[in-house]
């Protein structure tokens, strides 16, 4: 079974793409409204605008007061959130089916008739600034933030989705309204429904939302492909009193339209994609250095990063960085083995059932495919493509795509304790930067 086999595409709803899988297993309805635009359309110097917009829409739907909206959502037995990333925005709702009609009235107001009141925007900006301050407590998110900004540099993927203490206060009502007008046009929306509703009801809801919006085409995503920054770079994010470190090491990764995309996914599975992959074996099982040790290869419309993540105690940070770099080097030099490949293929094919074991997940994959412009058969033929991967193909993909020369090492820790050992662990360093964890960066 694949997602494509069970998800229905409805065409009659005013031209919009509507995905649906009916499931009567629970009295719940899940509604996702996806947009093909995300934070990349934020004006320069005003990063965080789209995310603020998404929150403001929920708070000012139909010109109502936020308390009224929150109270209504809770009373209906519903949840509504918005997830903004660089290339997309998804409003995700779940509602107990008995309340579906009343909830849809509110959802139409959220998506098509938000008040976007200035006073509420200002309140939200103050709230966001306080949340950004709070986020400094989370070392893992600090590592991710500094890694992304330094890795992509001036490329749009290096921009902050949430905004920064510098950019959030700069966002005006006009900025928010402008992003709303550009984003919320009919052709920019994709609807995904699952659960306790039929095609007629799903179409009706999608049509109600679509018809409340102006017609218009989705903004074109003109983001360029990221280019690797030459050399090995080290960023030490200095935070006092850390007994532990957060380490992210990465280089450019994969693009879903690369011919070797699936081969590289297989390589990642073998290297650090599971609990018994090489990274966990070497870092956690043999040495006990880090509770977790994984590699990751996300996708977007343009090429993303490949990264390794560990979090050893301060004394082990240097050796752990060295080990990871050695492991990457060995992967490129010797490749993966035949038995590792067979194992990984069995794992990827058999475990795929958990990516599609509910109607909501199946619809979610189809939604991703549409939002991220994935190849049309990306999920429909995913398993066949995994099965077809050969040893030569995997090892060639590793050689072609993963770099030892052009990579970024980001370490969050107490610089005075770990700095020397980490610098020593990275040979041929092109640059080292020490940055305070609470810098306005």
């Amino acid at each position: 079974m694949s997602a494509a086999a069970t998800v229905v595409r409805l065409e009659e709803a005013g031209g919009a793409t509507v995905l649906l899988e009916t499931s009567r297993a629970l009295p719940l309805v899940s509604i996702s409204v996806g947009l093909k635009t995300g934070s990349l359309i934020d004006p320069p110097g005003k990063e965080g605008t789209t995310r603020l917009l998404s929150r403001l829409m929920r708070r000012t739907a139909g010109g109502l007061e936020p308390q009224v909206i929150d109270t209504r959502i809770d009373s209906l037995g519903a949840s509504l959130s918005a997830d903004v990333v660089h290339s997309t925005m998804i409003f995700q709702a779940t509602v107990i089916s008995r309340s579906l009609n009343s909830f849809v009235d509110l959802l139409v107001d959220v998506l098509a008739r938000p008040g976007l009141a200035t006073a509420e925007l200002e309140r939200l900006q103050r709230e966001t600034l306080a949340e950004l301050k709070d986020s400094l407590d989370d070392d893992r998110s600090l590592a991710r933030r500094f890694f992304r900004r330094r890795f992509f540099g001036s490329h749009p993927y290096g921009r902050s989705v949430s905004g920064t203490p510098k950019t959030v206060p700069e966002i005006s009502s006009a900025d928010v309204a402008s992003v709303f007008q550009r984003s919320f046009v009919r052709d920019n929306l994709i609807f995904a429904f699952s659960g306790d509703l039929d095609a007629q009801r799903a179409s009706h809801i999608a049509r109600r939302i679509s018809e409340a919006l102006p017609s218009g085409a989705a903004p074109v995503d003109s983001t360029p492909e990221p280019v690797a920054v030459p050399g090995r770079r080290l960023v030490l994010v200095d935070k006092p009193e850390r007994t532990q470190t957060q380490i992210l090491i990465g280089c450019l990764g994969s693009h879903t339209r690369d011919e070797d995309h699936v081969a590289l996914l297989v390589a990642n599975t073998i290297f650090g994609g599971t609990f018994t992959a090489r990274m966990t074996q070497e870092v956690r099982s043999k040495r006990g250095w880090s509770y977790g040790a994984y590699s990751n290869m996300p996708f977007d419309r343009r090429r993303q990063s490949f990264s390794m993540w560990t979090f050893p105690k301060a004394e082990d940070a240097g050796p752990c960085v060295k080990l990871e770099l050695d492991m990457l080097s060995e992967l490129r030099a010797k490749g993966v083995t035949k038995s590792e490949l067979s194992w990984a293929k069995r794992y990827m094919v058999r475990s795929h059932c958990f990516a599609i074991d509910t109607a909501a997940k199946r619809v979610g994959l189809e939604l991703d495919q549409a939002l991220y412009d994935l190849p049309e058969d990306y999920y429909a033929h995913y398993l066949e493509r995994v099965q077809a991967v050969t040893l030569e193909r995997v090892n060639q993909a590793v050689q072609d795509r993963l770099s030892e020369e052009n990579l970024l090492v980001t370490v969050v820790g107490t610089e005075s304790v770990i700095g020397g050992a980490v610098r020593e662990a990275v040979s041929d360093l092109a640059s080292t930067e020490v940055v305070a964890f609470d810098s306005a960066d």
Binding site: P66, G77, S79, D137, C353
Partner: protein, 463 residues
């Protein structure tokens, strides 16, 4: 179930039990409703192993959970964290299988597996494609009785757990403060130490400690299998009988439960942490999950703290703009726990100021009835939370296992929902007056301090 289906089950069990050892005899004990459309069958093996089975053909997958009735409450001073360390060790070597083979085989089968330890239990969960059931039955039954514990693995796993502790507690403000709260609020009961254990205890464990723990608690008569998914009952029972029927029961020790004496005065601790703003953490002694008052107090926590429409979110985050985040929950434990609340202040706001606002709201709910609309809203949130957690077979198995271990009733999630719907304004005033009193609380005030000396290991030092 119809009488003919019931007879068919009896006939099958009779055939299965013919020739089986006494330990391997399986008895069907009851059928339990699990929500409006599902039911759960309870079986017991001769060796004491319990099985909860829910046949669910919504996807070609099976959730296979093993819940042991042992958690950090069964540890003793100087050996805290042993239940959790043991959870890690269960993924190591088994007789006839080298270390790491367990996970490797499961992953090769496409399984997702994990485990968790808390105050009252340790649970191991595996989700598998339905055709891989034989493998997981074999692997899980093997590690229940034939685990191999050697020094190198114990040493390495201690290091992993120490790193987990650094991640979750020592370098995490919230984790560290929550640990301090429980250590302050409890003086006698085993809930006073953290499930992950004190660092000095983790470092001190020996292989012999682990062996003794395994022999004592890892036995069929201390375990419940919870299986939900796309498998027929008869085929499942046959396989389980062959795998678990020969495992011997153990003599379980009488638990050395030490009830917590009533707290008679507020306890207040001030700590410095490397954080940007002040934090307030408060714990009020609260009833056990099986107590009559627990659903009402949980609903009150929902009214006060859960969601953007809740009273204290509206007051602290929105109206007064004093906090970025508020949340609270009532401990779902076998013995009395804490109504635990956490608030993160905005810059310039003191933790004391946050407490003043909370106190005022608590006084209000002790004197003014909460409206029917607010009660219904909180109940709707709880209903949505329950239903959303049941979409996957793993979610169903987790819900069944948790309620079985804590309350002894696997279908109690829905019973609680019904109880919650019957909670009245009078119930909420009663529990507010009974539990939310300053003399029953412990208060942790967290001051921001980014100097290198800011207090590490406060809770451990207090022990």
């Amino acid at each position: 179930m119809s009488s003919s289906a019931s007879k068919l089950r009896e006939k099958r069990l009779s055939e299965l039990n013919t020739g089986a050892t006494p330990d391997g005899q399986i008895a069907h004990l009851e059928t339990v409703a699990f929500g409006p459309s599902l039911s759960v069958e309870r079986f017991r093996f001769g060796n004491g192993l319990e099985l909860l089975f829910c046949e669910d053909h919504s996807a070609p997958v099976i959730a296979y959970h093993t819940w042991f009735r042992v958690g950090s409450r069964h540890e003793r001073e100087g050996k805290t964290g042993l239940a959790h360390l043991f959870e890690h060790l269960m993924f190591n070597e088994v007789e006839g299988r080298k270390a790491g083979e367990f996970d490797r085989k499961l992953e090769e089968a496409g399984a997702e597996s994990n485990a968790s330890t808390w105050l009252d239990f340790t649970q191991y969960n595996v989700s598998i494609p339905k055709d891989q059931l034989p493998l997981v039955v074999q692997l899980e039954s093997e590690r229940m009785s034939r685990l191999v514990l050697r020094d190198p693995q114990v040493k390495s796993e201690k290091e992993v757990v120490a790193n987990e502790r650094r991640y979750r507690v020592d370098d995490d403000v919230e984790g560290a403060v929550s640990e301090l709260l429980w250590a302050t609020a409890f003086e006698n009961h085993a809930y006073r130490w953290p499930t992950i254990g004190w660092m000095k205890d983790i470092e001190g464990f020996t292989t012999e400690d682990c062996l003794e723990f395994y022999r004592t608690y890892y036995a069929p008569n201390n375990a419940v299998l919870v299986i939900v998914g796309d498998v027929a009952e008869a085929a499942l029972l046959k396989r389980l009988s062959a795998a678990y029927g020969a495992l011997p029961a153990s003599t379980l020790p009488i638990e050395d439960v030490r009830p917590e004496p009533p707290q008679t005065g507020e306890r207040r601790v001030e700590v410095s942490k490397p954080t940007a703003t002040e934090k307030l953490v408060v714990g009020y002694h609260s009833p056990a999950m099986g107590d009559f008052d627990h659903p009402a107090l949980s609903l009150l926590a929902e009214v006060l703290f859960s969601g953007r429409a809740s009273r204290l979110h509206q007051k602290l985050v929105r109206e007064l703009e004093l906090a970025t985040e508020v949340r609270a929950f009532v401990g779902p434990f076998r013995d009395p726990g804490l109504f635990e609340l956490f608030v993160s202040a905005r810059e310039g706001t003191s933790a004391e100021r946050l407490l003043e606002v909370i106190d005022a709201e608590f006084e209000r709910v002790q004197s003014e009835p909460i409206s029917a609309e607010e009660i219904a809203r909180a109940a709707a949130r709880l209903e949505l939370g329950l239903l959303a957690g049941l979409e996957t077979v793993d979610g169903k198995a987790s819900t069944l296992g948790f309620y079985e271990i804590v309350l002894g009733r696997p279908g109690a999630a829905f019973e609680r929902l019904d109880t919650t719907r019957r909670v009245t304004a009078s119930d909420l005033i009663r529990v507010a007056r009974r539990y939310l009193l300053p003399r029953y609380r412990s208060v942790i005030l967290v001051r921001p301090d980014l100097s290198a000396e800011a207090g590490a290991d406060d809770a451990e030092a207090a022990q």
